[in-house]
């Protein structure tokens, strides 16, 4: 049997579990390549606790080189920005086109900075996490002894923004300083969470004296300053952006069927337009099967991904993902 070339784009939570499984139980006749810009994956479940200092940053990293070696997988450090599904080719900077037979995409969400003047220059996005961690470490180590009140702003008050606010609040206190944290959103606070959870979080935010500025528009961001609708200025020592993630742009330049920019997949995790393309995690949406975007789905998808890729290679019937509608959400601070 001729070898099939499986290319994994992105080192997300589904793919790391898939690689682990492929290392333990290799699929015969499968040649694997992982294309990812970073050699490490930050395990998002432990990120807030790492900000607090409960874990060292090393403890929450998953090493993709070690994992690839274990899975006998070739690893390429590049960001994919173009693919051709007819030719079955991936285009990378500096390299000749990279061919594949089967594709699996797990690239998550592209956390873009809000489209506000100054955002790119004067605020720090939470993703990529490695970059965020680096900047956060630098900020903490540069805190001068003289300054007692530490002002921080977080743009974007989804679950991630709320969690970040609580964590950072706690961390600044543990450093013996007084935190003054603004949580800013053009819509509601924690609007994407179930009602009970939302109420509990609002209570916690209040308890921790986080300053909530919802339903307002930011007009511009300058060095250490956020201008609100040209009338108010919030000064901040650090401005973080946890604002809405968007699907990666390059997906829309392919022939893949997308839903709101995310790869439309069926319950077998296959693209509904191209059966040789699998997708999982936040970059994909299961058609007619409502799920939230959360890491736990990426984790749950992995065994099915393994099984279905294997079934695809040996041309067996493909299994469907079973999923419970309830998910486990955790806010740490």
């Amino acid at each position: 049997m001729a070898e099939k070339k499986l290319v994994l784009i992105g080192g997300g939570h589904s793919h790391i579990l898939l690689l682990k499984k492929l290392g333990m139980k290799p699929i015969k006749g499968l040649n694997i390549t992982l294309i990812t810009p970073e050699p490490e994956l930050v395990y998002t479940g432990m990120l807030p606790a790492a900000i607090l200092g409960s874990y060292s940053f090393d403890q929450i990293n998953i090493d993709l080189i070690k994992l690839s070696n274990f899975a006998k997988c070739r690893i390429i450090f590049e960001a994919v920005n173009k693919i051709n599904l007819n030719k079955k080719e991936i285009y990378l900077d500096d390299r000749i086109p990279f061919g594949f037979d089967i594709l699996s995409i797990d690239i998550g969400i592209n956390y873009q900075l809000p489209n506000i003047s100054g955002a790119e220059k004067f605020s720090i996005p939470v993703k990529p996490f490695s970059n965020f961690i680096h900047n956060w470490r630098k900020f903490v180590s540069n805190l001068t002894i003289k300054k007692n009140i530490i002002e921080l702003s977080i743009v974007g008050a989804g679950a991630a923004g709320c969690e970040l606010a609580l964590c950072i609040n706690h961390k600044i206190k543990s450093l013996g300083r007084e935190p003054k944290i603004y949580l800013i959103d053009k819509k509601e606070i924690a609007g994407n969470l179930p009602a009970k959870a939302k109420n509990k979080i609002l209570e916690l935010l209040k308890e921790n004296k986080i300053i909530l500025r919802n339903n307002i528009n930011i007009s511009s961001i300058a060095k250490g300053k956020i201008h609100i609708e040209d009338s108010e200025i919030i000064s901040s020592d650090l401005i973080l952006s946890a604002a809405g993630g968007k699907p990666h742009n390059w997906l829309s330049e392919t022939d893949l069927n997308l839903k709101n920019g995310f790869v439309s997949i069926n319950q077998s995790l296959q693209s509904i337009s191209h059966d040789f393309v699998f997708a999982s995690g936040d970059c994909a949406s299961i058609i007619n099967f409502p799920t939230q975007k959360a890491g736990v789905f990426a984790v749950r998808a992995a065994p099915f991904l393994y099984q279905n890729i294997q079934n695809y290679v040996i041309k067996k019937t493909i299994k469907k993902v079973q999923s419970s509608e309830k998910i486990f959400t955790s806010i740490n601070y």
Binding site: E3, N31, K66, R95, K326
Partner: protein, 374 residues
Amino acid sequence: MFWGDVTLLGYIPWLIKDFVDRSFIKKFIVKHSMNSSLVEKHIEQEQELCGACGAKVGNKVLESALEKLPKNVNNMLNKIGDDAAIVYLNQGNHVFTTDHLRKFCSDPWIMSRITAVHALGDIWAMGSIPLLVLSHITIPELSLNDQKNHLDDIIDSADQVFKKEGASIIGGHTSKGKELTIGFTILGHTNKNPITLNGAQDGDYIILTKPLGTGIILAGEMQGLAKGLWIKNAHDWMMKSQGLISKFLTNKVNSMTDVTGFGLYGHLKNICKSSNVSAVLSIDEIPILEGALDLSLKGVRSTIFEDNLRQANTDQINSDNKKWPLLFDPQTSGGLLASVPKKHIEEVQSKLKILGLSNSVIGKFVKGGTTISY
């Protein structure tokens, strides 16, 4: 914590989450990862691989890889594909060198790039520029398609490196074997006298243009102890061309070499012997790769380390400084090691700083004795 509509708060739920998270992360701690993967995945084979001409790679596969190379090459009178290249040489001095490396990473494209830069090291160390290149490639017995992909990647990657330096691949040989091996034979040229090991003077400064530690990092990877970040950083350094640095240094150094298999100590010793000088190293100033010291302190050593140490057996090896094993660490695509007279040192130092080397001056040469102290 929330489970659907149920809310849990407090320390106990956090403990549960901590347990779940730690267990999740633990799954990905892989030890001794590389040992298994170094054994190239072979397609089931009933017959032993033929040697000699039988090991040659099929014509079609080769043609497709060579197709992308330029048709007309300076210094070459015929075209690629003839039995041998007909070359004519400019006036001046020519340097001729060869090097090859065995598979040490999973991406043939990176392998090829590193090997090309590694092989060019000898040309650069002589203060010359590369002209013509022959490739020697052994690829493992893979499916025809994979052979093609491997070769395409290898030739493309190397061609990019050589083209940037003004050199051209004009031929070579490709065969099938047990593991991926890539090598290049390079012909270089200089109008001046090539820079040799001979010429270091009393009072010259010793400079090094890349951090040490590639041997330890790669050994650490095989033992599953090196972090991905360290490995990627080491790859990035090994892929760094030194063409610009070499051109800049050519008329400012008294002697030069590149640090490779014998480690800094061995190559420095060669300069000392040829030039009849002794070296005094400021060991704290020597740049090392991120992670190399961590691994060294854990006792990680490259397999050639012992050989390198043995070469120096008549010398007194000073092990006071915890960095000492790095001096004997064999380097892949290592830096240029040169002796720079005092009048040029400031200019050299600031130029290298611009090129990203904060520390490049690592010691001084003194009169006679051919010893190395640090």
